[in-house]
Amino acid sequence: MELLKEGAIAPAFCLPSIPGQKVCLSEFRGKNVILAFYPADWSSVCGDELAVFNEILPVFKTHNAELLGISVDNTWCHLAFQQSRKFLFQLLSDFEPKGYVARQYGAYDERRGVCSRALFLIDGQGIIRWSYLSPLGVNPGADGILNALELLNANQATKKKEDKAA
């Protein structure tokens, strides 16, 4: 399945974050959500990708955006990874059924059995506003997301103005 594109409704999900706790996309209504699918905890490229995002987190917050990392690793693995790297955002476990959520977003690598390295920006109404699939082994950095967030906020500001005028 192809990566879901701009304009598509973001498939709903509830996934475990830390053992015993679930996070649902619907909790973030009214907020922008950045989904970062990645192949695996601990591998160096992912580490760098999430490490860069972790540094940019305050900027994401100013854009009213919440970052969620998703891989097929289980919750205990996520917990150890998160504590080791001191990430200030949540990692979700698409572990059982394996890759179920990633498949719905077209962000599952069937051959390798892991999530692709894919990014989505979902707006407060649950609509995908931007998506990007990185080539394997290439760390996408944060520039694409920052561009998409700026564009989204500019569009929302214009819309607000129009609504006011109407």
């Binding site: 860069v52 540094e55 990430f87 080539p135 950095g141």
Partner: protein, 189 residues
């Protein structure tokens, strides 16, 4: 990403820079004091500076990845604070030569070695303008597509190729003789 390979934040007076402002070659690094690859890059850059002399200007911007390197942020603050007393590069050198010892005690020790005003140094590390400068470096880097450290820009274009001394020297030498040449793009790994 999205093939953005240009430096989005132009070099300004706020930047730390070595070498002639009129140098035909400008090498800019986004670096982290605790990252071991940056330590290797430090030695490469020193070597390039000795070879290329006045033809090379070097600019350093902070890109501490605190989640990977617990002391990277305090080290960056130490360098910036030393900079407030006119000794950024002196501190920069000490930090890259002592990457295994970047805790606060060690940083204070380095400030003493550099004969900095210790009270001002420690106060400077906490100053909001220092923190803001580092944040701006990180944000500007992210906007220019920096996705790890070290990341290099040569004359404003991203340099993603092998940054060994030989490779960088040969690229810089070629650029000096044909200024229109573009930085090579990295092949997907």
């Amino acid at each position: 990403m999205t093939n953005e390979t240009k430096l989005r934040v132009p070099i300004s007076r706020a930047d730390h820079s070595q070498g002639s402002p009129d140098a035909p070659l400008i090498l800019l690094e986004y670096g982290d004091y605790e990252c071991s690859y940056c330590g290797k890059a430090y030695r490469v850059i020193r070597h390039l500076q000795q070879t290329l002399k006045n033809d090379l200007r070097f600019v350093f911007r902070n890109f501490p990845l605190a989640s990977l390197h617990p002391n990277a942020m305090v080290a960056a603050q130490a360098a910036e604070s030393a900079g407030l007393q006119g000794q950024f590069w002196e501190m920069h050198d000490i930090l890259y030569r002592n990457q295994d010892s970047l805790d606060l005690d060690s940083l204070t020790n380095y400030a003493t070695i550099l004969d900095l005003d210790l009270t001002k140094f420690l106060e400077g590390m906490e100053r909001s303008e220092v923190e803001e400068k580092i944040r701006q470096d990180i944000y500007g880097g992210a906007r220019s597509g920096v996705n790890g450290t070290p990341n290099f820009f040569v004359n404003g274009s991203r340099f993603d190729d092998d940054w060994s001394y030989e490779s960088l020297l040969s690229f810089l030498n070629d650029l000096r003789s044909q200024p229109s040449r573009k930085a090579p793009k990295k092949k997907a790994a």
